[in-house]
């Protein structure tokens, strides 16, 4: 009985952090995303070899068959390094949907490709949470028509997962299918890629699950995505605090390091006091996904909502501790600020997640 990451999980996180520090430090991230926002193929290939892409894929299909808590530990490490890789869509949401709703044949066909990182999946989950600008995808005589906004990990994807009718059906679509066009979207965060899909009579490659199975798989995928985004927020915040404390220990004003001013120390203490209990919340939400199904959806909503509230406070405070230099492009703090800014809006912003948590507890008429 214990409430802590296992030694293996801590080792995994350390390995990833060391890899990113050595092979993809922030100076390298800057170069990679300077031309075009989104994912770096080389980094994703390396990380896939370290097991990141196949972390949730069952062992029989070539993955590691680990739990969502392992994914959360991974997400924390990736966010610390603001790694430009398609982890959320390809390594979390897609394998969970396939494992939950795919037939044996579908799983055998696609999961091994996900495990090696060779198949990248864009997930059109935005319309599950809210539809805007008339977006939405529907089926007419066997083909898909419509628009999907803010498709996660869309640029460079080989396939797309497209939920229909609020998740009642789940379509697996080839990115090269005729009638499908992809527009790269630009967000504040250059370390992740988003695309808009326009579907004009697109043939569905696979339907995943029938009836209830697709609905449940969509819920699972959404819940896992939220918990992992909470972990991403956690990692980004943890790194921002470290950077702020380190900078305060070096920067001198009025003849002493600014870390000796209570005004600065208290900002740092406030950041930590927000983050540490939140870390425990994220761990439990990820753990509950596999071990306490009755708690999973509610906890993912709470974790994502809460981290999305404290996240912006922490990254802006970390920038303020740096003073003017924190606001510059060169100091790099904005990478974590922007990562947090995007995480907050994805898969349900905090207000809607809290409302969902209330509904799950029967508190809404």
């Amino acid at each position: 009985m214990d409430f802590a990451l296992s030694e293996e999980q801590m080792l995994l996180a350390k390995t990833l952090e060391r890899y990113l520090e050595e092979e993809c430090p922030i100076t390298r991230v800057r170069e990679l995303v300077a031309e075009r926002a989104g994912h770096d193929g080389g980094t994703w290939k390396d990380l896939s070899e370290l097991g990141v892409a196949g972390i949730l894929v069952p062992e029989e299909h070539g993955g590691s068959g680990l739990t969502l808590l392992d994914s959360a530990a991974t997400a924390e490490s990736l966010a610390r390094g603001v790694a430009p890789v398609p982890f959320l869509g390809s390594a979390v949401m897609a394998p969970i949907a396939l494992a939950a709703a795919g037939s044996r044949e579908q799983q055998a066909r696609w999961l091994p490709l996900l495990a090696t990182g060779d198949c990248r999946v864009g997930v059109a989950a935005t319309e599950l949470v809210s539809t805007r600008d008339g977006a939405g995808v529907e089926e007419r005589s066997g083909c898909l028509h419509g628009t999907a906004l803010m498709v996660i990990d869309g640029p460079g994807a080989d396939h797309f997962l497209v939920p229909l009718a609020g998740g009642e059906r789940l379509a697996w679509v080839d990115a090269q299918a005729p009638g499908l066009s992809t527009t790269r979207l630009k967000t504040i965060d250059r370390t992740r890629g988003f695309a808009e899909l326009e579907l004009d009579g697109v043939k569905v490659e696979e339907w995943l699950g029938e009836g209830g199975a697709a609905r449940d798989a969509t819920r699972r995928m959404l819940t896992a995505g939220r918990a992992v985004l909470a972990a991403d927020l956690l990692g980004a915040c943890a790194r921002a605090i470290e950077l702020a404390v380190a900078y305060a220990g070096q920067r001198e004003q009025f003849g002493r390091v600014i870390a000796s001013f209570q005004a600065v120390k208290h900002l740092c203490a406030e950041m930590v006091a927000e983050l540490e209990p939140a870390r425990s919340l994220v761990w439990y939400a990820a753990y509950a996904f596999d071990a306490v199904p009755a708690d999973a959806e509610k906890m993912a909503c709470h974790a994502k909502a809460h981290l999305s509230e404290i996240g912006p406070f922490i990254v802006r405070t970390a920038i303020e501790v740096h003073g003017g230099v924190g606001f510059t492009d060169e100091q790099n703090l904005h990478y974590w600020f922007k990562r947090v800014g995007v995480d907050r809006q994805l898969l349900g912003h905090p207000d809607s997640l809290r409302e969902e948590a209330a509904r799950l507890q029967g508190w809404v008429d």
Binding site: D2, F3, L5, S260, H266, A269, A273, E276, P277, A358
Partner: protein, 405 residues
């Protein structure tokens, strides 16, 4: 991470439920806020039953009157969940069982453990904490109340303040300056003082809540045996920090926050404005959910800290934030309780139409006291940044030095 409920835990939970069902009639109700003071007969009887079944003083060794079980965080969670859900008291808490007892277990002599732990956990002896003084608040090590050696005894002279329950307590644990030539931190001893010692006078200190939860305690050559020192002479600061660590955990215990949140939920389902229940107002409901996020975070944070303690690991910075984070949530829960009642939220002192005995206002004010007491929020931030993050202390201000010259 493993919180799986094996059959052992299912049967433990069954046992707790059966116990509650059989004893609910005689069980005192759970309150919101921090209950302190001398336990009534019903609470003492309830506590005895809880200890007998291993539902209180669970990990205190049997030879000192506890149940003697190995620490098990899951059983503790189950206990809190079931007792909270039934709305019955989780037993006797407060400064004796939650602060002094762990300190004695860590630092006390064998006879001190035998003499005091049993009566304390049974609620027979109520303790107060003699730390703060008029000149030793945030700067606690500046304690000036002196204990002068006189034969086998000390003669204590000076004043303590903010002494919770001193008017009800039979005993005080506290810090006294026993080594006059020693350094500020090295001159203190941690001592157990009977409150009926001649030369001790207790004066209640009325606070903003309208109650007198605190006291001033005056010492005029009060005679206490030297054998009442816990640990070594001059080591009081170190030992007091053990107690303070437990106090900061106690003041923000998440089980307390959970039961306050449940009471708030019940209020919101009950209270109506313009015919609409508070829980059906999206704005008020959102505030409830924000607080629930925080209470859940602190609940799992407690499990994480408990795990570290059981494994003998240092939880580091994470352990230092509990008091700061928890007391604030308590204050905000009370604030929402008041807002839910609108204008009627201000009713107090047993007024007609007052809800829940005015306890939301009382908790709102009392929790402000908790934000300050046990080390102010600002001192907590110093502790987090200095001990946790390794940031340097603020140097003594220049103008003070110039004045001294």
């Amino acid at each position: 991470m493993d919180l799986s409920y094996g059959s052992e835990y299912e049967s433990f939970r069954e046992g707790v439920r059966r116990f509650i069902a059989e004893n609910k009639a005689s069980a005192p109700r759970a309150g919101i806020g921090v209950a302190s003071g001398r336990a009534g007969g019903d609470l003492i009887g309830w506590q005895a039953k809880l200890i007998e079944h291993g539902y209180a003083a669970r990990n205190i060794p049997r030879e000192y009157g506890g149940y003697g079980a190995e620490p098990d965080i899951l059983k503790r969670v189950i206990l809190d969940e079931e007792l909270n859900a039934a709305g019955v008291s989780r037993g006797i808490g407060g400064q004796g069982p939650e602060m002094l007892v762990p300190t004695l277990l860590e630092h006390g002599s064998e006879s001190q453990k035998r003499d005091w732990i049993g009566p304390t956990i049974r609620g027979e002896v109520v303790w107060c904490q003699g730390y703060s003084e008029p000149g030793a608040g945030s700067d606690l090590a500046n304690v000036q109340t002196r204990a002068v050696e006189d034969g086998d005894d000390f003669l204590i002279t000076g004043q303590k303040i903010w002494t919770t329950t001193a008017h009800l307590a039979q005993m005080m644990f506290g810090l006294f300056r026993t080594e006059p030539g020693a350094s500020k931190h090295g001159g203190l001893s941690y001592m157990l003082v009977p409150m009926d010692t001649p030369g001790i006078e207790v004066r209640p200190l009325a606070t903003m809540t309208g109650e007198s939860e605190f006291n001033e305690v005056f010492f005029n050559e009060a005679r206490v045996p030297q054998s009442n020192v816990v640990g070594e002479r001059g080591e009081g600061w170190k030992i007091a920090n053990t107690t303070l660590r437990h106090e900061r955990t106690m003041l923000a215990a998440s089980a307390q926050l959970e039961s306050a949140l449940l009471a708030l939920l019940a209020l919101m389902k009950e209270e109506q404005s313009n015919g609409v229940r508070a829980i059906d107002s999206p704005l008020l409901r959102d505030r409830l959910l924000r607080l629930q996020s925080r209470v859940l975070a602190l609940k799992y944070h407690d499990l994480r800290m408990l795990t570290a303690r059981i494994r003998g690991e240092s939880p580091g910075t994470a352990a230092l934030v509990t008091k700061l984070a928890g007391c604030e949530v308590s204050h905000q829960i009370a604030a929402l309780g008041i807002d839910v009642m609108g204008e009627l939220g201000v009713l107090y002192e047993g007024s007609p139409r007052e809800r829940n005995g005015g306890r939301w206002q009382a908790l709102h004010m009392f929790s402000l006291g908790l934000i300050i007491g046990g080390g102010t929020a600002q001192i907590q931030k110093n502790i987090i940044s200095e001990r946790g993050l390794g940031m340097p202390r603020e140097p003594v201000a220049q103008f003070q030095l110039q004045e001294q010259r």
